[in-house]
């Protein structure tokens, strides 16, 4: 991590600002050409989606958004078929090489679609962005080979990855502590680093706002994208059942209370709209992390030159 300094490095700032502008421009052209509508939803919220391990930043009697997900799904429920948004999101206490309490999320949603359609979008988008910033699909990040060639993406189920590297199937016997520890110590380090890896079919207790797989209720229609050992995106086939959604929010609040964290109010306007969401897929992609890789930078601080206090 680079330390805070009183003035910005002019050359580095010009380079990363230029790359960020090119990333944003190429991203917008990609979605505009495919008929997605760019939307803007509130950054200040009276209620976020309660999640077991995501703490929101309190502000003026409400919270800053941890993600634009609930608002964007309400736009789907209102009939918009394909939408995207890139903007700042806030998560309290997250600070490390690839974590910032304020960061840029790109989210897109479309209907009718599943998480497999979103996977096709992601392959095409990331190939476009690699070409825009690197001029090639195959490049190096910090001296190691990497690619965003759509033909090189690999899919592996969470169950297979855990059986192979940790010796158990978390979809059959779920244990959140054991899962998190084995994921960071055994599974993530063993994933190939030189091409995109999609971990899919998460255990149902980790479904969050994803539906269960129609033919496999133990597992959720959720996948995560890794490149170079960095988690870049999280995608869902969206949950559209209001009763189950309410139960999951309550379960997350119970998990929060159990670890001594604040419980969050439920977004009743969202819950009233959940039943009107069509069959849809959606994704959140960490644009700063992607820029870090495409700018060949070692950490987020190198592409976000204003360190938080």
């Amino acid at each position: 991590m680079s330390s805070a300094s009183s003035s910005l490095d002019p050359a580095a700032t010009a380079r990363t600002a230029g790359l960020r502008a090119r990333l944003m421009g190429s991203m917008r052209r990609f979605f505009d050409a495919r008929g997605f509508l760019e939307v803007s939803t509130p950054v200040w919220l009276p209620a976020n989606a309660p999640e077991d391990n995501i703490d929101a930043v309190p502000a003026a009697g409400g919270w800053l958004r941890t993600s634009p997900e609930l608002a964007m799904k309400r736009l789907l429920a209102a009939g918009l078929p394909a939408i995207y948004q890139a903007g700042p999101c806030f998560r309290a206490g997250e600070r490390g090489r690839i974590h910032r309490p304020e960061f840029t999320l790109l989210e897109w949603y479309r209907a009718p679609a599943t998480s497999a359609d979103i996977l096709d979008d992601a392959k095409a988008l990331l190939a476009d962005l690699a070409l825009a910033l690197r001029g090639t699909l195959d490049f190096e990040w910090l001296g190691a080979p990497a690619t965003l060639d759509p033909a090189r993406w690999e899919r592996i189920s969470v169950s297979d990855a855990f059986l192979q590297h940790a010796g158990w199937d978390p979809a059959l016997t779920f244990d959140p502590d054991h899962f998190d520890l084995d994921l960071v110590n055994l599974v993530e380090p063993a994933l190939p680093h030189d091409h995109p890896v999609v971990l899919h079919s998460y255990p149902a207790p980790l479904a969050a706002l994803a539906r269960r797989l129609p033919d496999d209720p133990l597992r959720a229609d959720r996948w995560e994208l890794y490149l170079g050992g960095v988690e870049l995106a999280n995608a869902y086939g969206e949950l559209t059942d209001p009763a189950e959604q309410r139960l999951r929010f309550r379960a997350s609040n119970a998990a929060r209370a159990a670890r001594g964290a604040e419980e969050y109010p439920l977004d009743e306007a969202f819950l009233a709209d959940v039943g009107h969401i069509p069959t849809a897929g959606g994704i959140a992609l960490g644009l700063d992390r992607l820029l870090m890789i495409l700018a060949d930078a070692p950490d987020l601080d190198a592409v976000l030159p204003f360190p938080p206090p």
Binding site: N53, G93, D180, L181, E188
Partner: protein, 189 residues
């Protein structure tokens, strides 16, 4: 008393199962929707080996009962090395195993930092440089000032050290106690 994982930082001393460790590297990780964790590399302060350990944000971590004292070396008696506390004038005996190779670089009255865990000495840190006399080496070639060609030599403690060709028996040299290597020739202190 206990730390929580958010207290973790490089250099922090912690205790696991009664063994004191020092944190040498740490990294904040938070996978997907998972909990915040700290991936650490920790060094066993008794055995010296390092290992990886991941702490969850909710974990409580024991604090070791660690005390650092400045002691002066007095004399050696077989495997025992006798030090004196300059403040209390207490005598402290350390076994040679605690000193490791540092024992070769001791000089009378040399001030050392000694770390105690639950009252037991676990490590000794000498000043970075000490000056010692060469007690044994092949005669030097006069005029050969090359410093990159080394020959074997011994100091009073019997420690073998590589020195440049021009160093003679009876010369005094500066030694880096952290590496055990020759630094330069010096005047007799």
């Amino acid at each position: 008393m206990a730390y929580t994982a958010s207290d973790l930082r490089k250099g922090l001393k912690i205790e696991i199962d009664g063994i004191p460790y020092e944190v040498t590297e740490f990294q904040f990780v938070k996978p997907g929707k998972g909990q915040a964790m700290y991936k650490c590399r920790i060094k066993n302060m008794l055995a010296g080996n390092t290992m990886e350990k991941t702490f969850r944000a909710v974990d409580k971590i024991d604090t070791p009962n660690i005390e650092s004292r400045t002691l002066s070396f007095s004399y050696q008696e077989g495997e025992k090395y006798v030090f004196m506390d300059n403040k209390t004038y207490d005598q402290v005996e350390l076994h040679e195993n605690v000193l490791g190779d540092q024992k070769y670089f001791l000089i009378e009255d040399l001030e050392c930092e000694v770390l105690f865990h639950n009252g037991r000495a676990v490590s000794v840190t000498l000043p970075a440089f000490v000056v010692k006399e060469i007690t044994e080496t092949e005669p030097g070639a006069r005029g050969d000032t090359a410093t990159n060609v080394l020959k074997p030599a011994k100091i009073d403690s019997g420690y073998e050290i590589g020195v440049p060709i021009f160093i003679n028996q009876g010369d005094w040299i500066r030694i880096d106690t952290r590496t055990g290597k020759y630094v330069e020739r010096v005047k007799q202190p």
